[in-house]
Point group: C2
């Protein structure tokens, strides 16, 4: 982004102030209103919920609210920029939650990056919320934080960088495979990035039937002979890379059908794309600068190219997923977002594109059918 | 409250669901909107706030937001009914914050009652908020929790049960003294209840110039010879009860000018009131059932009677205070609510009643001037 655009954007945020606010859903115009909705009336609701906490989902903010929570340890492509750096993103997600799915989300950024502390804090504040959207928490902490919260809370918890990304990637890839006329299960898939997104994408693609996935971190392909892997990457190495490819991206991508980038700017070179199988698919999703620019990827031979950006075709964006997932979970009182739900959501998203083409593999962010279709997939 | 009213109220809450929601303050109708307010535009705001966290007060929800936080340990007059019991009250306060003062407040009830844990959780979530309204946390924990948070956070923190109550009581008492034509500084004042509210009321009345206050807990008057007092009550005993009255309410209230009840239903008997000095003042603020009913107090000789209820004259209610306090603090970027602020707020409230009478010592909850006057007192 050039300096002038940045200055204009900053000026717009400063002029705007907050991008969301609260709104009263009842009138407080007379004494009667105060007596009903505040004291003494509220005492009746309090006594009821003390005895029947499960009814908070029916008669309080818990009915329709989601906390959008981050520790600021992995914000967009910007890295560990702390809670204040994370705040505009979380507020933006809260805005999208309301605008797209009428979910009342509130941004909560945390002044801690210790996973045990994050778990403790989220558990402590959970009673007021109907769902927890974790966001921009770095791997590997994000795995433990999400796992424990899913186990220990009775409201839905989803780390969007993992599962939102995985769902939208799977949706796009199902349609891209159709465009290039290849069987999804036989695709040779390379994933660049073994963090939160890469890990979840690999697992969901496997669950959807993919059989040949190679994941790379900065040191090269994940495989079971590597001794420098943490427990999460070790697990990933055990379920991926069936041909035990060693080396780096050049080795992994040779004759691959699909490249999925959740890594960084410029990671994918033209010669890499040129070495892929015919009719290749490139999802270059690093934000704001993709692993390769679409034009370059196409020139090097890719048939279907997608990015995370709104100024190119095929925008693979989590915003297609998270509003619908929580809309569905809140409406149906669902307490866990299962693997089955994620697969159904991806298929539902894919199905919205009636005739996929190289420049249209995924519905548009502005497509009003998206939230409904994803919400319907949650059971 | 009779069973039929309770049933109707419960039905209304169930039908209503949430009483507050979020609202978008910007449009998200086209791709341009997404590019500006979400990705990639939001990255500019994030990088800026990472470098200049102080600007979160200008360009995020922090500008206008307050967390209304409770552990549910002392909810209204209902006692320790936990986070779900507290939720309707906190949501009601969030509703009043918006309706009265355009403050974006979100209710957060905590699944812990450990003071160290409460401090830890509130500190962790503080970056997203412009202020912290603590509520319905039992004494003595509330004292330590508030003290530490005031010290350790750079946003205003106020325990409303303490200071909201103290401010509105002082306002009412300044006017009540005028009605009975007594000098405020010479009033003999009895406070029934040595919890959060009683302690703060005693301290603020002293700061306002009162010289003769006796505070009672369930065991009787606080005085320096008692050996069963915790550190907070001991401190209170040292600054009150100059005549070293021992015994119970009967002993304390003899010839007193003022009774302030923040204790429980029926604590004050007609014979107690009859033993007070001529032209006495009774604030019976236990909720929903006061220490004595207004009619009974008047019959026994009280000249000015106030309660916490909206169905009697002179409603002494915190809702006259907290919206304006935080409105003022947010507008002026004030990070501490000082004793001086509380005194100014009380005087400002009192002044709104041009000619105090026995049935009009405090402005009405519906009086639109209240928030502005209190906010103006915050500097």
């Amino acid at each position: 982004m050039d300096t002038k655009s940045s200055k204009n954007i900053l000026a717009a945020f400063k002029k705007q102030g907050a991008r969301i606010e609260t709104k009263a859903r009842v009138k407080l115009s007379g004494k009667k209103d105060f007596s009903l909705w505040y004291t003494p009336g509220v005492g009746v609701a309090s006594l009821h919920l003390a005895a029947h906490p499960e009814d908070a989902r029916k008669m309080s903010v818990k009915k329709n609210s989601v906390a959008v929570i981050s520790d600021g340890s992995a914000v967009l492509g910007l890295g560990n920029i702390g809670p204040y750096g994370a705040l505009p993103v979380m507020e933006g997600k809260a805005l999208i939650f309301k605008a797209k799915a009428n979910v009342d989300a509130w941004p909560i950024v945390l002044d801690t990056q210790d996973p045990e502390e994050i778990i403790r804090v989220v558990k402590a504040i959970a009673p007021s919320f109907g769902g927890i959207n974790l966001e921009d928490i770095a791997a590997p902490n994000c795995f433990e934080v999400e796992k424990r919260l899913v186990e220990e809370l009775t409201i839905p918890v989803m780390h969007d960088d993992q599962h939102g990304t995985a769902i939208v990637v799977l949706a796009g890839l199902l349609n891209a495979a159709k465009v290039v006329k290849k069987n999804f299960k036989n695709l040779k898939i390379v994933i660049s990035g073994a963090g939160a997104a890469g890990t979840a994408v690999a697992k969901l693609l496997l669950a959807a039937g993919a059989t040949d996935i190679i994941v790379l971190d900065r040191a090269g392909t994940l495989h079971t002979d590597r001794e420098d892997l943490n427990v999460y990457k070790k697990e990933l190495a055990m379920i991926t890379n069936p041909r035990m490819i060693t080396g780096g991206l050049a080795e992994a991508i040779e004759k691959a059908d699909v490249f999925i980038g959740v890594s960084g700017k410029g990671v994918l070179k033209a010669e890499h794309v040129a070495s892929m199988a015919p009719r290749s698919i490139v999802f270059a999703m690093a934000n704001p600068d993709p692993e390769i620019l679409p034009d370059e990827a196409k020139k090097a031979g890719a048939e279907v190219v997608a990015t995370g950006r709104s100024d190119f075709p095929n925008q693979i964006n989590n915003a297609l997923v998270f509003p619908g997932i929580f809309r569905g979970a809140l409406d149906k009182g669902v307490s866990k977002i299962t693997e089955e739900t994620k697969l159904r959501a991806a298929r539902a998203l894919a199905t919205l594109v009636a005739k996929p083409t190289a420049v249209k593999i995924i519905p548009d962010l502005l497509d009003a059918r998206v939230v409904k279709a994803v919400a319907k997939a949650v059971r």
